[in-house]
Amino acid sequence: MDKKEVTNVILTGVGGQGSILASHLLAEAALKDGHDVKLAETYGGATRGGAVLSHVRIGQAWSPRTPEDQADVIVAMEPLEGLRRAIQFLRPGGWVLLNTHPWYPVDVSAGGMEYPAIDSIVEAIQRLGGRVLSFDASSLALEAGSSRSANVAMLGGLFALGKVDVTEGSLFQAIEERWSARLVEINRKAYKLGHDHVSEKTRQG
């Protein structure tokens, strides 16, 4: 099977973090670059605080959802959600970009459940054959000017990894088509911070 016919990216997080929006930006940019794209959104009943997942499949794919163990990259806005989806979808040798800022489930904050330590999440993903790059995208977003731009900081990280055949120019075009000049500025900054951070980390190996 030649899996290079398609690149599978999964974006995940908690409702309200903007992972679905980030998946739309990525898909729009891929279309601008002339790729065929499929995107699937999955969310629960809750508008805020629920587990959210979207699949972006660039290249020749028919199903909008990624098969088991075939995600090339998982972009996780929230660490627990990254682990949840890595178990389900990550390809051995695939990458997980992890925002280290947790969003505790109500089962932890009000119930008796435990939230796993970040280290054990990273270790678990490595046991699955995954490569993890973790960074605090939420702080980078604040530095860029808005906590809401963490999703674009994560996209900056994704592009720095170089596993997706989509151009920066197309992504910026998609960003410009969506937001006002002020928000474009913040998001460009967030993108750059995420990109630089991950580039630096990958250089260090």
């Binding site: 995107l39 932890v108 904050s109 009000a110 054990s120």
Partner: protein
């Protein structure tokens, strides 16, 4: 102008399945479009409403699916292209006219899109609405992709006009909520002239009990030509119109035979995969992954009722074993067996019905379809046992993320007040019946779940609102079921109904009148948050705007309840838990029909207009760790090291936690 309305021929855009469906209706020149919101269908009408602002057709939200569908049907009788969209359960609400309308048919093209939910992800039941098309004797199309969804909806309007029958297009949640590339086509409206002719082609065409459709002799002649050996008894009442519908069926079959949405690829071996609608995308991917392209026959079915024999007969004649891939009930599968039996063909048909090569419940995905196709073709697919073992171990690390109401949601206040009001009740095991809406989160439960028991009556103590609701089924059912509980003489506890504003108008009102008329006790709490919130904040009769955002008449629930004859009507704020509790207690004590309207706008909507100014903060010195605020169920409230806390990012400053804290440890943070 919205891109979807303005897009020129040849424009290529990424569209949600639901947006593609809307674009199809736009390209067909739809004049009247109506719906009630329902996941996963809502974006269809949202897109049409947006486009209607530019294109000038009528698109709107109705109070329920019955009104929406019947309005579209009424429009069609005047010769304009009409459209209704709904979720699977929505078709049930339309069922009466759905079954009867085909008896006299339609004039302007009438297309009904049903977004099914085979998982089900967002629905009470996984019902497969294609069955409804067969039941009503109307054609059903099932798209495989966003592009085909657009093309099929457009084609369905023209087909509807040729057949003079409504046409169903069936989507599924995964198609409706996924995005693909769609190339736009021309806008080609009908050339039908608007008008009204009560005897259009057939006498008394639009009155189901009217004299024989088109005169007995004409229908009899049609039937005799088509069925030369059958005897036709005298027809009574609407029977003549049923006969007309039966006589239309050969033309419906012709449409299937001419359907451009079918595909047949021959294979080397007498093994076939037949996939319908969205199932075809999984089958194509699995066939590629298993490198079966040359070996097996592949047939994609686009028109699922009636089945196109042109593409299926060669499969039945040339293959020994066929696997049917379809989302939902076995629907194509039994039809294929009927065809094979009718032709006397000895062919083994697999799927969901007998051998369950594919599980008869739940939705399809690529992995499941790949495994089924591999088994069907005798291919061994290696399973990495070690990896499965690692996954099973790691699953223990993954904390669940239970669904909750949003931070600052008015329903938090409602449930708190209800719990406090019921504490004072003398009775033992209450029944809290809830309708459909965000407030149904009170039935989702929170772990750890209680141990079930065989006792006829048992009290389960829980302080968490997410365990608080007892019964929940479908729109409108809670109110009627509460009447039955009263009439059965249930005495072990209070009987309460929680209904949303939109649900109240959708289907609760008949049960309320029934209670008044029949003198049945009823305690109904209507949680009025001004929007149909759960499906994405569509306006409803209490919002004050229409679908286009223009000012509209408010229909206040308290005044309607009073006019209907409710003996006690109370209005209180969901954000004042004491006031709400007093109102609920009055209603519980009232011997008759009592309606409490608890007002409080959906916080998400309010925050879109008025950004939050302050948040709440816990004074750790004062906090005794009693967890009352945790029991409120607000996701902004945290608890660690025996002290409560408030997440400042999530907190919206509603103040409910301040009201429930017994030691005044929570206060507004000075900012």
């Amino acid at each position: 102008m919205s891109d979807i309305a303005a897009g020129e021929v040849g424009t290529r855009m990424l569209l949600l399945g639901n947006e593609a469906i809307a674009r199809g209706a736009i390209e067909a020149g739809v004049r009247v479009a109506a719906a009630y919101p329902g996941t996963p269908s809502s974006e269809i009408m949202e897109t049409l409403i947006e486009a209607s602002k530019e294109l000038g057709f009528d698109a709107r939200w109705c109070v329920n699916e019955k009104v929406a569908f019947e309005a579209a049907a009424g429009a069609s009788l005047t010769g304009v292209r009409s459209f209704a969209s709904m979720k699977n359960a929505g078709l049930n609400v339309c069922m009466d006219l759905w079954m009867s309308l085909p008896y006299g048919g339609v004039r302007g093209g009438l297309v009904v899109v049903v977004a099914d939910d085979p998982a089900p992800l967002y629905s009470s039941a996984a019902q497969d609405c294609r069955v409804g098309a067969r039941w009503a004797h109307v054609p059903c199309l099932e798209p495989e992709s966003q592009q085909e969804a657009k093309d099929m909806v457009k084609a369905a309007f023209a087909m509807s006009e040729r057949l003079e029958l409504p046409v169903m297009v069936r989507s599924v949640a995964r198609l409706s909520h996924s995005v693909g590339v769609v190339e736009f086509g021309r806008i080609e409206p009908s050339d039908m002239v608007q008008g009204f002719n009560k005897h259009w082609k057939l006498a008394f065409r639009w009155a189901i009990y009217g004299p024989p459709a088109g005169g007995s002799s004409r229908v009899r002649e049609m039937l005799h030509q088509q069925h030369p050996h059958a005897e036709f008894p005298g027809f009574g009442n609407s029977g003549w119109k049923q006969a007309w519908l039966v006589a239309r069926q050969p033309d419906v079959v012709k449409e299937a035979e001419a359907s451009p949405f079918e595909e047949l690829q021959r294979g080397r071996e007498p093994i076939a995969i037949v996939a319908s609608g969205f199932g075809a995308c999984y089958a194509r991917e699995a066939i590629r992954d298993l490198e079966l392209g040359e070996r097996v026959w592949f047939c994609k079915v686009g028109m699922v009722h009636p089945l196109p024999q042109r593409t299926l007969m060669p499969v039945l004649r040339n293959c020994k074993r066929i696997l049917v891939i379809e989302d939902g009930e076995p629907f194509v599968e039994p039809q294929l067996r009927e065809l094979a039996q009718n032709e006397g063909l000895d062919v083994e048909i697999s799927g969901k019905q007998f051998d369950a090569l594919i599980a008869p419940h739940g939705e399809l995905d690529v992995d499941l379809v790949r495994r089924a196709i591999a088994r069907h073709c005798g291919i061994q697919v290696a399973v990495d046992q070690e990896r499965q073992q690692i996954k099973a171990e790691l699953a223990g690390l993954v904390t669940p993320r239970s669904s909750t109401l949003c931070a600052g949601c008015p329903h938090l206040g409602t449930y708190w007040a209800l719990r406090e009001a019921m504490k004072l009740g003398r009775k033992y095991v209450p029944i809290v019946n809830v309708e459909i809406g965000c407030y149904e989160q009170a039935e989702y439960g929170q772990q750890p779940y209680p141990e079930p028991s065989d006792a006829p009556t048992q009290r389960y103590r829980s302080d968490v609102l997410y365990n608080f609701a007892d019964t929940c089924y479908v729109m409108g059912s809670a109110t009627s079921m509460a009447l039955g509980q009263e009439r059965a003489g249930y005495k072990d506890g209070e009987i309460v109904v929680i209904a949303g504003d939109s649900s109240f108008y959708h289907t609760c009102m008949p049960a309320l009148v029934d209670a008044v008329w029949n003198g049945t006790r009823l305690t109904m709490i209507v949680v009025d948050n001004s929007w149909t919130a759960m499906t994405g904040h569509q306006p409803c009769p209490v919002t004050g705007i229409d679908a286009l955002g223009e000012p509209a008449t408010v229909v206040p629930i308290d005044r309607v309840a009073k006019a209907m004859g409710a003996g006690l009507v109370e209005v209180a704020s969901a954000y004042d838990v004491k006031e709400a509790e007093v109102a609920i207690r009055k209603a519980l004590d009232f011997d008759g029909v009592a309606v409490v309207v608890l007002r409080g706008e959906c916080k998400l909507q309010e925050l879109r207009r008025v950004p939050k100014e302050t948040v709440m903060k816990v004074d750790e010195e004062l906090c005794t760790g009693c967890r009352q605020c945790v029991h409120l169920g607000c996701p902004a409230v945290t608890f660690a090291d025996k002290k409560a806390g408030i997440d400042p990012l999530l907190c919206v400053g509603c103040g409910l936690c301040v009201q429930v804290c017994p030691v005044e440890a929570i206060a507004r943070e000075n900012s």
